[in-house]
């Protein structure tokens, strides 16, 4: 029975797909940079100098590299949060609200459990953040599964609610007690104990501690790998991809769509909860009012750029980090306004989405063609002995 013709096999599917995706990414980058060059020239600057400065600020020094990784860290988490829902066919626009609530949870844990010794306090705060993110994400999840309310609407609404809720918490239950000499006009919480903070990693690499490169970056990379494993090698990911891609087939295969959606939203909320930790436990050490940094929304762009692939997201977030550093570079080194970076980010997302679609379609065409060849290649099989029995 000539079926899988492993003998005639060229390159494996996954490699072909990987090469195609990297090619698409490269092409997208080139196009985006080319269009960006036009704008740079309009400012009477040399594109090479400007791009050179942007790259220099991330890769030219250990500090710059550290800053880039610091900027990438929260984006890895928020992009992963977006991506897991997206794989299940849902748009979680509520990462923003989820990480804000998670920050309040973590701050509360860091302040209330300050009797915990050593790193236990830090872990308590991190676990609290995960719970906070999941709790906030569970609202749109339950609304969707129980009532059919669309998650895009509910999560956007809940973002506003989250911001107000957390402002109230900071102004009320978690309001600072030390007045600090009267100059502290901003509402905020008390500073956390030192053992609530995530330990510094930078000094091991010769980067100043003030850069705030912590162990959270490797943790983010590890988390991305865990998410990859969940989505590709575990039941939840398998069911999520089936539900996201063909809900009817998934349901007929015995998968509970609502159950998958709730579990995905919880996972998404958990990841979202970690997005605020770099600022809260890596850098600031207290929670001020109005600390929403738009990480959730940027995460959507990063997830797109990484094509919702956890590993792709690591690199996409780092690219975003490079661009964030680029803002500083532009201000110091060139006459191009820093908003140029925002244009470049937009261009990148657009070009990546387009080139990926083209790459995907080409890959599909190639596979369709090869399958058609296989189907046509062997001569029509004679009825086999097994079949004969029925007819006889």
């Amino acid at each position: 029975m000539a079926t899988t013709q492993t003998t005639r096999r060229q390159i494996p599917e996954w490699l072909e797909s990987l090469v195609g995706q990297l090619g698409a990414l490269l092409l997208a980058l080139i196009i985006a940079l080319a269009i960006g060059s036009v704008i740079i020239v309009l400012y009477d600057e040399s594109p090479l100098d400007v791009y050179g400065a942007i790259v220099e600020y991330s890769f030219g020094s250990a500090e710059g590299f550290g800053y880039m990784l610091v900027a990438a860290t929260p984006l890895i988490f928020s992009a992963l949060a977006t991506a897991v829902c997206f794989k299940g066919g849902m748009f979680n626009i509520g990462v923003e609200g989820q990480y804000i609530v998670a920050m309040a949870f973590a701050a509360a844990a860091a302040l209330w459990f300050d009797f915990l010794p050593g790193p236990l306090l830090m872990w308590a705060a991190i676990v609290a953040a995960m719970i906070g993110g999941m709790a906030w994400a569970s609202i749109p999840a339950l609304l969707k599964v129980r009532t059919g309310a669309h998650e895009v609407v509910t999560t956007i609404m809940l973002n506003g609610v989250a911001a107000s809720l957390v402002a109230w918490i900071i102004g009320g239950p978690l309001r600072y007690e030390e007045t600090g000499g009267g100059y502290n006009v901003n509402l905020r919480t008390d500073p956390f104990a030192d053992n609530a903070m995530i330990p510094d990693l930078g000094h091991l690499l010769g980067i100043r501690p003030s850069v705030k490169l912590t162990w959270l970056f490797p943790a983010a990379v590890l988390t991305a790998m865990v998410v990859w494993f969940i989505m590709r090698r575990m039941r939840l990911g398998y069911e999520a991809r089936a539900v996201g891609s063909a809900p009817g087939s998934a349901q007929a295969g015995g998968i509970s769509i609502g159950g998958v959606q709730i579990r995905l939203f919880l996972l998404s909320g958990l990841l979202a909860g970690l997005a605020g930790m770099q600022q809260l436990l890596g850098d600031q050490g207290f929670l001020p009012v109005g600390y929403e940094a738009g990480l959730g929304f940027i995460g959507i762009g990063v997830a797109f750029l990484g094509q919702n692939n956890p590993i792709g997201i690591i690199f996409a977030a780092m690219l975003w980090g490079v661009l964030a550093r680029g803002e500083t570079a532009l201000q110091i080194e060139t006459d191009v306004p820093r908003e140029f970076v925002i244009i470049l980010q937009g261009l990148l997302i657009m070009t990546v989405v387009i080139t990926y679609q083209i790459a995907k379609r080409r890959l599909l065409t190639r596979q369709l063609r090869r399958e058609a060849e296989v189907e046509q290649a062997p001569p029509p099989s004679e009825p086999t002995a097994g079949d004969e029995e029925v007819a006889a």
């Binding site: 029975m1 079926t3 998934a250």
Partner: protein
């Protein structure tokens, strides 16, 4: 009802369209390999062949959708280059595709004139009058004022044909026009086609349904793998001969039903209500195939969904043996040994963007055999399963790593059958199991279903193809408006079953 020889006015007249060694190459596949063909005025010319034989491609070249890679096309003796459907229509060539392109909220007349409006101001009444006139001339039963979304599939198809006629088309290409029609609608279509032929139009009828071709065609051209393997007429050939030309080997149309002792009731449906189901009761016993015949839209989909726990019921019970499966859910019902071949394999069967091995384990992915430790999939076990299944069921593929989307319809159906039958189910629910498949694949699927009966399983066969129902069933029941309206032995005359399909309850009790 043989229509052979009715199409008058042929013979010495020069052919209307001549294909001379036309080739069309897609990357890696030669879809048309030096095809030569003539279309004569006033004939129904059937173009038959298996899926992928190149029938549609050839006609898309004529309709200007694909450029040809070689050869020439002559229309009315002139060599032509047809670069777009607009060119084709200017030459009097129109095509109706398998998937209709109609604007649902528009009326019939609005759809017909869409893209061919005169001037800036719509003269809707003129258009409606003209559409009505064309419909009358060819005896098309259609109301120009009706809104398309309220129409049946057969009526929508009529609108598509009207669109072509409105543009003055002389040559009408119909791509698998009966694939979406009920038997009655098919007969209506054939009546329309005869009317058009009478008026001197030329019709190209692309199909792989041999009975229909023999019924309606004047001439038949058979394609296999991009080449013309023969040209014939209904009088000079037979179904078996055509099938052999198409497939390249003899094909069996009636399979011997295995003798099996009918056992205990395996599946009992009691007074099912909900959706289109309106008090449906039915029993299927071990070793028995019960065929549910009916015009589509009478509750077939709801019936299958109800058995599989995919839709809520307003009343009634689904019994497996003597166990009520209410509340078990789809997974629970599957675990009780019910396998499901859905009527729409893309919507309810496969996840097209997932790999073959991922699809092969769907429904069993949480078995201990395939996942452990809180949900880690045992990939190597799953791939082993996939390799075994595609080997046993002859799914032709290069690798189990490709997505299900890349497989042909026949191979997709084989994969579903393989997956569903692998679990050694007690009950098989097979809905429209051969829809869209070509002759070779149909034969394979039929054998598999008969194998299930031979193995003592209970099979609920739901099909709109009466051929299929008669070929496989031990008992035939008719479904009409959500209820069973009659029960017949497999040797009952088809007309009698047809009456049951239309709700004539007096036929009951044979």
């Amino acid at each position: 009802m043989s229509s052979t020889g009715e199409g008058a006015g042929r013979g010495s007249a020069p052919p209307l369209v001549v294909f001379e060694k036309v080739s069309k190459r897609f990357p890696g596949v030669l879809a048309n390999d030096e095809v030569s063909l003539e279309l004569r005025q006033g004939e129904v010319h059937a173009l038959i062949g298996e899926n992928g034989a190149g029938k549609s491609t050839l006609m898309r070249v004529l309709y200007g959708m694909y450029p040809s890679d070689g050869g020439s096309i002559f229309v009315r003796g002139q060599e032509v280059k047809i670069a777009s459907p607009r060119d084709a229509i200017a030459l009097g060539i129109g095509m109706v595709h398998q998937h209709f392109v109609l604007v649902d909220p528009f009326t019939v007349a609005e759809n017909v004139i869409l893209g061919d409006e005169d001037g800036r101001v719509l003269h809707e009444e003129d258009a409606e009058a003209k559409v009505a006139e064309i419909a009358r001339a060819y005896r098309f039963q259609i109301d120009p004022h009706a809104v398309v979304e309220d129409l049946s599939v057969g009526e929508e198809q009529r609108v598509e044909i009207l669109k072509a006629l409105y543009r003055g088309v002389e040559i009408l290409i119909l791509d698998e026009p009966t694939a979406v029609l009920t038997p009655a609608e098919t007969q209506d279509l054939f009546a329309n086609l005869r009317e058009l032929r009478q008026a001197g139009k030329t019709i190209v009828f692309i199909s792989h349904k041999l009975d229909e071709v023999l019924e309606v065609a004047d001439r038949i051209t058979v394609l296999r793998r991009g080449r013309v393997v023969g040209e014939t007429s209904p009088a000079a050939t037979s179904k078996a001969k055509l099938a052999e030309m198409m497939v390249g080997r003899p094909v069996l149309f009636s399979l011997e039903k295995p003798e099996v002792e009918v056992g205990e009731p395996m599946l009992g449906l009691e007074d099912l209500r909900g959706g289109k189901l309106n008090g449906l009761s039915l029993e299927v016993r071990a070793g028995e195939i019960v065929g549910v015949a009916g015009v589509e839209g009478n509750g077939q989909r709801d019936l299958a969904d109800a058995v599989m726990g995919l839709r809520p019921l307003d009343g009634g019970r689904v019994m497996l043996g003597d166990r009520d499966v209410a509340g078990l859910g789809t997974q629970g019902i599957r675990n009780e040994g019910v396998a499901f071949v859905p009527e729409d394999r893309h919507e309810q069967g496969l996840v097209l963007d997932m790999t073959l091995w991922e699809n092969a384990v769907m429904g069993r992915h949480d078995d201990l055999e395939f996942s452990r430790w809180g949900g880690v999939l045992l990939i190597s076990k799953i791939k082993e399963l996939a390799h075994r299944l595609i080997g046993e069921y002859d799914v032709r593929t290069r690798s189990i790593e490709v997505t299900a989307r890349t497989l042909s319809g026949g191979n997709q159906q084989k994969l579903i059958l393989a997956r569903e039958l692998e679990t050694d189910p007690g009950v098989l629910v097979a809905a429209q199991p051969t829809r869209g498949l070509d002759v070779g694949a149909i034969e394979f699927v039929w054998r598999q279903i008969l194998d299930q009966k031979a193995a003592g399983r209970a099979v609920l066969l739901i099909s709109a193809e009466l051929d299929e129902i008669f070929a496989l069933s031990d008992r035939i029941v008719t479904l009409y408006e959500g209820r069973i309206t009659g029960e017949y032995p497999p040797d009952a005359p088809p007309e009698e079953v047809g009456r049951g399909m239309l709700g004539d309850v007096s036929a009951e009790g044979t």
